[in-house]
């Protein structure tokens, strides 16, 4: 009995799309098995079938050598299959323990009895060094901690096969490292792990074997140690991928944007969220703000764009003070903004693509006359942008944005923001949660914007991205800028020290 899980020749067809086409996946006991593929390759469908959310049209599933039928997630649980979803399924105003027992509550005389559960949670938490306090409320703990609660949920139900769906998308580098350690420990104990991801470095770091999917088909299963990153990337996207960003030397010009003595006080405490921020961005330059999540990057961008009002400090665009401009006036003055949360801020998901592409400009004469929308030019505009930025969507400009893939949603935002040719383009984690192909594309776009003599302000948590794309790096720590360095004069190690607050550099407006 070599394999704990075998999914043999699985086919799942939705009208018009073969989500899985004769895919085979075999998991050995005690291995970490990566499932690699671009967005839309069929990874989630395959895992949904294993977890009982979909029924396959063809093919069989074997658990421990026996053919089984998994018709719902409860069946999967009974077979010892657990899953950590990409978007956590936790009740925010419940405690950790309450979330973990949810659905399996022990009662005594009709009252909830948590003592034994808490004991078991503490035991599991200590054993795997998860450092979870069962009595904390979910709303009070960090995203990384919430993920561990999800992991505990699986362990509490004695899962032997653990599925992780894009587990690192929301984590900081340190949290990622810890998660990897935890996964290895599970594997050493004989648990089997399926890691769904499109990040090759992670696979290289933890996985034993890797099955690659492309457009619904299984491309092959490889031993991770035997193949290079490049080979895996090629298997995934079906062509050669360059990891090094092809970057020309910057041709820097005059200052485009300047922040002077910016402060922001947190709404409900004395703490300063932004503390005396000073920096500038020049034409033809990509300035990157690096830092661990939650050190004020979000607040800084929201303050600059006007989403959060502030009292102290000044902003200049092209030498003109724009501190107290409205959001629309700032946009029109020449600021483009690719927001951090594309679903919350960047898009109206229930509008179609064409309507989303005019979100900031619908009132311009190009798109309206006497208050009536000019639909023909709105759709012409959309078609042109779809063509130019290679946005892929089922119904063209009429596609409802909610139904588009994450990568194409992001492309839509980029198309909209770059098409206005803003003097300053602010991009906040523009590649978060995207696959290699999309990341490559977005980096190219940022560079071409800079090469056109515009300024780019990039906020990123990924050190690779920071080092590869930027012309100058600012590091943020606890609401302050603690370093202003050039990528060729630093390394990831030094940046890590700045980001952790254990080193400070000289910061002055250059």
């Amino acid at each position: 009995m070599e394999h704990v899980i075998e999914m043999l020749n699985i086919t799942k067809e939705f009208p018009g799309v073969k989500a899985n086409d004769n895919v085979t996946l075999q998991i050995k006991r005690g291995e970490i098995h990566a499932l690699l593929g671009e967005n839309g390759a069929g990874k989630s469908t395959l895992m949904s079938i294993l977890f009982g959310l979909y029924q396959p049209d063809n093919g069989i599933i074997k658990v421990n050598g026996e053919t089984v039928k998994i018709s719902n997630p409860n069946d999967a649980n009974d077979l010892g299959i657990g899953m950590v979803h990409q978007h956590f399924k936790l009740v925010h105003n419940f405690t950790v323990a309450e979330n973990i027992v949810l659905g399996q509550e022990e009662t005594k005389k009709g009252l909830l009895h948590l003592d034994e559960a808490i004991e078991k949670i503490l035991y599991l938490s200590n054993r795997y060094k998860l450092k979870v306090n069962p009595n904390s409320y979910i709303q009070d703990i960090s995203v990384g901690m919430q993920q561990r609660v999800e992991i505990l949920k699986m362990l509490y139900r004695d899962a032997e096969i653990l599925i992780f769906d894009e587990p690192t998308a929301v984590l900081t580098p340190q949290e990622i490292e810890e998660l990897m350690k935890i996964m290895k420990e599970f594997a050493a104990e004989g648990k089997s792990i399926i890691l769904i991801t499109h990040k090759l470095n992670e696979i290289k770091n933890v996985a034993d074997r890797c099955t690659v999917l492309r457009k619904g088909r299984g491309i092959g299963t490889v031993n991770v140690d035997d193949v290079s990153l490049e080979t895996m990337a090629e298997m995934m996207v079906g062509r050669k991928v360059t990891f090094k960003v092809n970057k020309k030397a910057p041709r820097m010009g005059d200052e485009v944007f300047r922040v002077e003595n910016l402060y922001l006080q947190s709404a409900n405490s004395e703490r300063m969220q932004l503390n005396n921020i000073n920096f500038n961005v020049r034409r033809g330059e990509i300035v990157c703000i690096a830092g661990i999540e939650g050190n004020g990057q979000t607040e800084l961008i929201k303050t600059i764009t006007g989403l959060t009002p502030h009292k102290k400090g000044k902003l200049f665009l092209e030498g003109k003070e724009i501190t107290h401009y409205s959001i629309r006036k700032k946009t029109m003055a020449g600021i483009g903004h690719i927001p951090e949360d594309r679903h919350k801020h960047g898009l109206v998901l229930d509008y179609n693509l064409a309507e989303n592409l005019i979100l900031q400009t619908y009132f311009e004469p190009q798109f309206q006359k006497f208050g009536f929308l000019k639909f023909s030019s709105i759709y012409t505009n959309a078609r042109a942008l779809i063509e130019e930025y290679d946005i892929r969507c089922g119904k063209g400009p009429y596609s409802i944005v909610r139904s588009m893939s994450g990568g194409n949603q992001q492309k839509a935002i980029i198309a909209r923001e770059m098409d206005r040719e803003p003097d300053l383009l602010i991009a906040v984690q523009p590649t978060r949660g995207l696959d290699v192909g999309a990341i490559e594309y977005i980096h190219k776009q940022l560079l071409s914007h800079r090469d056109n003599g515009k300024a780019v302000l990039l906020v990123s948590l990924e050190l690779d991205e920071v080092m590869n794309v930027s012309d100058r790096i600012l590091v943020m720590y606890e609401g302050e800028l603690v370093a202003n360095v050039l990528p060729e004069e630093t390394n990831e190690n030094e940046l890590g020290l700045y980001m952790a607050g254990s080193k400070r550099g000289e910061v002055h407006v250059s």
Binding site: V17, I327, T331, L347, L359
Partner: protein, 364 residues
């Protein structure tokens, strides 16, 4: 026109909407039938057909009933589109009604040809004002509009009672004074066209309103902004749309429509309807909620669902020919209406069914 309608029906999302509304109405009717069978099994079947079909012999009455609830349905539906739940249509309607009656009674200096029009506009303005208050509270003080509009309903109701008792009191009949004849909404021959019932120009006004709201929502930058705010407030703010203004304006328009409904109720008939000192919030105000729900907030959907409810209420009137207690008839008609309002439930169900059979966008 027909081709356009067919195109409309064949678009997936519209097909889902229309079929879920129809399914909801059918289940509402079946539910009504069950109550009839329980309360009067022998006559239930003929009574059932009476309640559905007898309205067709009396189109005039049906249109008269439908006129105000088209407007209140639009009022609720328009606010829905902007993400607001206006439960205050009843109060806005009452305030509109008292404004209309006040102008109808007091402003006799107006030329008689436009007296009714001014009274109607006054109702709209008063309703708009009554809607603006919860709009402001929501936009600038983050007071939930459901709470604010419920409060405004009662404030409006007692304000109306006060006005009737101290300003417009008809001592002999213990009710509001009768409006001048020139303030009654004219018929322009519509009463003759549709037979029995008081179909007057108010019905045309409600049709025009349907058209205007449809145009605002689907053709204008203003509607684009309002819907964007309704779908995603944060993204609207990001895009530089003044979402606070949008909320206030949406409530103003919502209130205006409800106010007009008040005028169409009270400025209709030979001498108009009168407000009692013991007046309660008129049911047409609340009927706007199920009308908007059944019509899925689409102006044309609202028009059809208001006509459906008109048909039902007139059918209920004829059901009195059978041996049903009048209260039971009320229970049956309102059960059908509210059951039909569960359309959202059916929409979810149909979307699920549709997705199962026809999955378009598969995430990998």
């Amino acid at each position: 026109m027909l081709a356009k309608f067919i195109h409309f029906i064949t678009r997936t999302e519209n097909r889902i909407s229309v079929s879920s509304s129809v399914l909801a109405i059918i289940s509402g009717l079946l539910f009504g039938l069950i109550i009839m069978i329980i309360t009067n099994p022998l006559e239930s079947i003929p009574a059932f057909f009476t309640i559905i079909f007898s309205g067709f012999t009396d189109i005039g009455r049906v249109l008269e009933i439908a006129t105000p609830i088209i407007l209140t349905g639009l009022s609720v539906g328009f606010a829905f589109k902007t993400g607001l739940f206006n439960i205050g249509a009843a109060g806005q309607l009452m305030v509109g009604a008292i404004a209309a009656i006040y102008v109808g009674v007091e402003w006799t200096f107006l030329p008689s040809s436009i007296h009714w029009l001014i009274a109607l506009l006054a109702a709209g303005v008063a309703g708009a004002f009554w809607g603006a208050i919860p709009g402001f509270l929501k936009a600038y003080r983050n007071v939930h509009e459901v709470v604010a509009t419920i409060m405004m309903n009662y404030i409006g109701l007692y304000f109306v009672s006060y006005m009737v008792e101290y300003r417009l009191y008809d001592l002999e009949n213990a009710r509001s004074l009768t409006v001048k004849e020139s303030a009654i909404i004219p018929y322009y021959g519509l009463d003759k066209l549709f037979g029995r019932g008081d179909v007057n120009f108010g019905f045309i006004i409600s049709l025009i309103s349907v058209l205007i709201i449809f145009i605002i929502l689907s053709k204008t930058t203003f509607g684009y902004q309002l819907k964007a705010v309704g779908y995603n407030k944060d993204a609207s703010k990001y895009a530089g749309i003044n979402e606070k203004n949008g909320i206030v304006l949406a409530m103003v328009i919502s209130g205006l429509l409800a106010g007009l409904a008040g005028a169409t109720i009270f400025l209709t008939g030979v001498s108009g309807r009168h407000l009692e000192t013991t007046e309660v919030l008129v049911s047409e105000g609340f009927d706007g909620i199920p009308v908007a729900l059944i019509g899925l907030s689409h102006p044309f959907g609202i028009l059809f669902s208001a006509l459906f409810i008109g048909l039902l209420e007139q059918g209920g009137f004829y059901m009195q020919g059978f041996n049903f207690a009048p209260e039971i008839i009320d229970i049956i008609t309102s059960s059908i209406i509210y059951f039909s309002a569960l359309v959202i439930l059916f929409k979810g169900f149909i979307v699920k069914l549709y997705k199962k059979n026809n999955m378009k966008d598969v995430k990998g």
